[in-house]
Amino acid sequence: MAESDNIVVETAEKIFADLADPQTINNDKKNSWQAPLWQALSEAGLPLAWVPDDLGGSGASLADGFALLNAAGRFAVAVPLAETMLAGWLLAQAKIASPEGEMTVLPASPKDRITVNADGALSGRARGVPFAKAAKHFAVLAHGKDGVSIALVDAAKVRTESGLNVGYDHSDTVTLDKVQPVTIKAAPKGADQTTLMLMGGVARSLQIAGALESMLDISVRYSNERVAFEKKISKFQAVQHNLARLAGESAAALAAATSAADAIANAKSFDDEVYLEAASAKIRCAEAAEKGGAIAHQVHGAIGFTIEHILHRYSLRALAWRDDFGSESHWAVELGKLVASRGADELWPLVASR
């Protein structure tokens, strides 16, 4: 099946296949793959896909960028591609030009809050910020007495405490102590913390869906190779049924994520219907990561539990991505509140809104 007739995705897939092959990366203990991969992605203009030309980016559509993130998920890409894309997108909302190099966004959790002080300096703490340690700049969404602002911050001016998520990628705590931003501008109407979390959540949903697609592929392939009790394990009905469930979880995750991406790409604003799509995608993809990942490991047996095997590159990262930009329980509570506030008879009209 052709993955895409989309030039952005085709370019990315070629780079991933050449420079981000999961087996090669997994064997490389010195992480010497990171720099050439990032360089190739940057030369192709992919990290700044969502930044318009006049702000230093390559001006791809939202839809193309989302498709790119799904492809990145299929390779479990472990450089701050999604993060830099989100940062560039956030900055572009306030017409702030993006600098070169790795970026990330903060806050990355709906509970964290960055404040704009009276003198324009920023204070606050953001936990679980993906790839903060690798970032040269941060795109920051902050709250002040005049409302919401978007700022570009030099990474050298903040304190970053290293942390790792369950997928062994950097997930750091960033503290801003009266940091003067490089640039700060008022956010346009509609660009608020919820919007940022929904965008980030959909980005993560697409990555999780991509990881599940790959987990399904490698699990099906393994089941056709591994012989036990004198049969390929793919011939055992119990294994077939497990793989059918994995296919279902993968399909559900992909459907939820691509539907949400499509909704955002074509929406005029983040209304209730877009909220339903984006929140649902994060909830459903997180559930699929848990259920689907468990099946992929079950099919692989002990070999999939080893650090030498590539399965963990997908399974653990998909589990880790559940936590960024609001976990499934966060969004479930918020979506439940939205549904309740609209009332019982408005539930179906919301679900059937498009």
Binding site: V220, L254, A261, A340, A352
Partner: protein, 386 residues
């Protein structure tokens, strides 16, 4: 090459939304007139023939069929909207639904022209009810184990044997059934079955209702004794029904009726918790809505594939598998969440009555229309595992 299945984010076109408004208005009128109670899923809706005729008069039966057969030549997506609005409203659709979804399309594909001209317009007018005769005692999901014989005789066939679990056979005017016209071959155990159109309510057929654990009587045992079926009632290829039966499955397995059968308890839970729910209720509702939304998007996507002339058998099986497991668990999740609903909730009694019925309904959902095990086998085949 990837094993992953893609469900493109099809959106319903504008004319579907206009149609949706019309359907909602119609259903609101019917509810106001007392035709049915949307809060009572456990109605005995075996006698809603007038409702069927009014739906037919609206042009909402056989919507996708050619106009010469009484159809509207509208899209699968438009039909989809009508189906989901009827289902969510708990409208009494049993009398016409099988004919609209399955039997009509089978006739269009395989019946001789004079039979099409006779029967299809009557389906479109909501006048007749169909049943599907697949399962037999000791066959069930193993369709190819069917034994009921159709023996060639002058001008037709004589049928002897028993069908079972046949929904609506007690009210059906016709049944589309598979019978054994010759034994299976060594090379192909699926060989030897033929699809027939059977006119019910005639001598030689005895319909025995079977009670269900919900307290309802929906399905039946149907006994054929030297029952005559004329030659021109053979549908398609003699001995080749297995090919026909399997290609129709996408219609049966992906529709909104495959995840909305117990939906009413979710609406009632939202009503019971009120506008300011506690965290636990909010989270539970949010998860259920996210899951429902995802399945609906997948199901709409399959309707789009059908509209595009594809045969998305594997995709439809995934929707049915996930959908029926979800609607089966739904009453239990709602029951769990409802434990903390205030005693004073105005709809508490309705919710409890609905839960009682939905919990009794739940066990059948992963059985009807293809068991979960059979579906997972089809999905596994699609993955290249068998």
């Amino acid at each position: 090459m990837t094993a992953a299945l893609r469900f493109d984010p099809i959106r319903l076109p504008e004319k579907c939304e206009q149609l949706r408004k019309e359907v909602r208005a119609f259903l609101a009128e019917e509810i106001a007139a007392g035709t049915f109670d949307p809060h009572k899923p456990n109605r005995e809706d075996t006698d809603a023939p007038e409702f069927s005729r009014r739906v037919g008069a609206k042009g909402w039966l056989g919507m996708t069929w050619p106009k010469k057969y009484g159809g509207q030549e509208r899209s699968f997506l438009e039909r989809y909207v009508v189906t989901e609005e009827m289902r969510v409203a708990n409208a009494p659709t049993r009398r016409f639904f099988v004919a609209d979804r399955q039997s009509g399309p089978v006739l269009i594909k395989y019946a001789p022209e004079h039979i099409k001209m006779d029967i299809l317009p009557r389906i479109c007018r909501g006048e007749i009810c169909f049943a599907i005769g697949m399962s037999e005692p000791n066959s069930g999901s193993d369709l190819f184990a069917a034994k009921t014989r159709a023996t060639k005789t002058d001008g037709g066939y004589l049928i002897n044997g028993t069908k079972i679990w046949t929904s609506s056979a007690h009210i059906a005017d016709y049944m589309i059934a598979i019978f054994r016209t010759s034994p299976p071959t060594k090379e192909n155990r699926r060989h030897g079955l033929t699809q027939f159109l059977v006119k019910m309510k005639q001598p030689g057929i005895k319909v025995n209702p079977i009670g269900q654990i919900t307290g309802q009587y929906e399905f039946n045992e149907v006994v054929f004794t030297d029952f005559f079926v004329p030659e021109d009632h053979v549908l398609g290829e003699v001995d080749g029904a297995w090919k026909q039966a399997t290609s129709e499955l996408a219609y049966e397995r992906s529709g909104p009726e495959r995840f909305l059968e117990t939906y009413y308890v979710l609406t009632e839970l939202v009503r019971a918790v009120g506008s300011n729910p506690d965290t636990r209720s909010a989270e539970g509702i949010g998860r259920l809505v996210a899951q429902l939304h995802t399945m609906r998007r997948m199901s709409v996507s399959v309707a789009g594939m059908l509209q595009a002339g594809k045969e998305p058998v594997v995709e439809a099986s995934i929707v049915k598998d996930i959908g029926t497991v979800w609607e089966q668990q739904l009453p239990h999740r709602v029951r769990d969440l409802a434990a903390f609903v205030e005693e004073t909730a105005t709809n508490r009694e309705t919710l409890e009555r609905q839960l009682d019925f939905a919990i009794k309904t739940a066990p059948k959902l992963t059985i009807q229309g293809g068991t979960t095990e059979v579906l997972r086998g089809i999905i596994a085949r699609g993955l290249g595992l068998r």
